[in-house]
Assembly symmetry: C2
Homo-oligomer: 343 residues x 2
DNA sequence: TTGAAAGCGCTAACAC
DNA sequence: GTGTTAGCGCTTTCAA
């Protein structure tokens, strides 16, 4: 066999003794080709191991078949799991996913918004951390974008997310339903752009209010980021309080798993002394001891919807108004809130 | 501002009143351009918000600036962490990473080997699960490939890995040094292509032999895959043995964390009754209770080397002999083997 | 039903 | 130092 994958349409055409157009017709399954001709061309295609040159196709046709997934960190389990689903969903539509890792850095996110990959990707699915409405509103690049998370008023940007207030309220209400009265929260953020944190904090407050409980500012812990280490540190601070909490709502599972480590190491019994609930339902939460109660957003749906929105936007252009989809969530009680059965 | 990112070189040239070549020179930082001209062109570039068309560039120059990372699962923490490093390493060389997720399925891996992305990517970093030497040897596609894992004799394929036998031996010897005498292993695989599993099993045997211990086939557990659930199931079987082990070496951290869950749930004390060690040093292992002892391959080095090998191969072509790089590993003792201090 | 030719945006070779 | 032109591989008119 010759050097594989290096043959062009005209090479194939030459071998088959036909025109380039005819080969192209066969490759693209154009209907009006005689079966004799189709067979003859196919033989030549096989012999030369022809593969279409995607760049040429893109240059001509305008679509690359590539979409970007721009997330803070690929190795944060939530994003890793989401990425898996996005890759699969994209695949079903013939798209390939390339990765932009922002680390939540403003400058990196700015590049994503500015369309650093214009002319390479057909669209981008973006999970911002350091960017909010102002940054997104001034976007001049016209590459279709789907936002993961909260709606950004202004720009014509589609988005998909969940009802964070309701989900957080459900989590905290679950803790309260166990009879806990000093419920702490870990995950508050200072940054203007931390919309999700703000909504979850609001859900937390709302649940307390719903049961007629006063909120205690000392029980609301601020964190730098959403890693296990942040949760561990915040939990240590809570334990050092004159009156420590009897339950903790963490704004994601990673924070909760870090908090759990601190609790167990300090000899605190979970859930007997302190109940715990997280957010995201990453796989890891099913295997900690005790297993972690959490809130489960439907990641597969989120991914599928994001890709679908991109596809729709690509078909319709920028004229139709921006769409927003709210995906469902589910409360998942496990051992850290006293559940017995495995899940 | 006009529709952003839609201007071509000739648009810019027209606006600036110069030739296409001159604009190209400025864009590509060609030296011999008068600074007056450079400034004039730059103004036009800015005004039209010019972005180079990557596909055109690729079509012309032959390189796409894209590499593929083909791994079984993005959401397995080891691969998620590795992917993070690969994206960063690629970025430093001006490459963008696209993801192929094989799920370890033979057919999907076959496509990767056959070069499903020929003419799109400059190279591919491939972590095979279901493919071995025979599958790789018949590879006809000429896209540079770097294999993650063991060497495949035959094909001119570069690879980067670690000394799995030595690493496994170190892990098991660590268990033996604690005075354990019935050391089990979880992670053996039936599949012909499971080279890594075979090497780790060999290291396990070698460590036993090194201390003059006989191996017990009943203590070597086979698993379907390397997830937490497999580890949990295998551990349950080990506990059901007439003479359960007093230590367990798991072929990766996920298996170990699943095993840990089973042990703790069964009321077995870790490490007092059963010591445990894993492999990979995923972040999660630092936060389980007790924290998980493990073997740490240098993922950042592995990623950097893989990308560097790709770059070198791209420069040299297929003529130079295939290279293999063995990256270092490190034993990381933690609480599951009686370590006190935090790590 | 098949062929010829133009052109997508870019770079490299060559001219001025 | 700057301009002209050919051509990368493909699809899309338009002709035959």
């Amino acid at each position: 066999m010759r050097t594989a994958g290096r043959a062009s349409l005209s090479d194939v055409a030459a071998l088959a003794g036909v025109s380039v157009k005819t080969v192209s017709n066969v490759v693209n399954h154009y209907e009006h080709v005689s079966s004799a001709m189709r067979e003859r061309v196919q033989r030549a295609l096989d012999e030369l191991d022809y593969r279409p040159n995607m760049s040429a196709r893109h240059l001509r046709g305008g679509r690359s078949g590539l979409i970007a997934l721009a997330v803070p960190e690929l190795d944060a389990p939530y994003f890793a799991e989401l990425c898996r689903h996005v890759v699969r969903a994209a695949e079903r539509r013939g798209w390939t996913v390339l990765i932009d890792q922002t680390d939540g850095m403003p400058e990196r996110e700015r590049l994503v918004i500015a369309g650093i990959r214009a002319h390479l990707i057909d669209g981008v699915i973006f999970s911002p951390l350091a960017s909010g409405a102002p940054e997104l509103a001034v976007r001049s690049d016209s590459t279709p974008m789907v936002l993961l998370g909260e709606r950004v008023s202004g720009g014509p940007i589609d988005h998909v997310g969940i009802d964070n207030v309701a989900a957080a309220r459900a989590a905290v209400d679950h803790l309260l339903s166990l009879g806990r009265v000093r419920v702490a929260a870990i995950g508050k953020q200072q940054r203007r752009t931390a919309v999700t944190a703000r909504l979850r904090a609001r859900g937390y407050m709302s649940a307390l209010r719903g049961r007629g409980l006063a909120s205690d500012a000392a029980l609301v812990m601020q964190v730098e980021s959403y890693h296990r280490s942040d949760g561990a540190t915040a939990m240590a601070a809570l334990l050092a309080l004159p009156k420590p909490p009897d339950a903790v709502f963490c704004f994601n599972d990673l924070l909760a798993l870090g908090a759990l480590r601190t609790l167990l190491q300090a000899g605190v019994r979970v859930p007997d002394d302190v109940a715990l609930i997280g957010f995201d339902d990453i796989e890891e939460s099913r295997y900690s001891t005790p297993t972690l109660s959490t809130v489960r957003p439907d990641k597969a749906s989120i991914a599928e919807t994001a890709v679908a929105l991109l596809a729709a936007r690509l078909d319709e252009g920028a004229d139709t108004p921006p769409r927003g989809v709210t995906e469902p969530f589910e409360l998942v009680p496990r051992e850290t809130t006293g559940q017995r059965a495995d899940q």
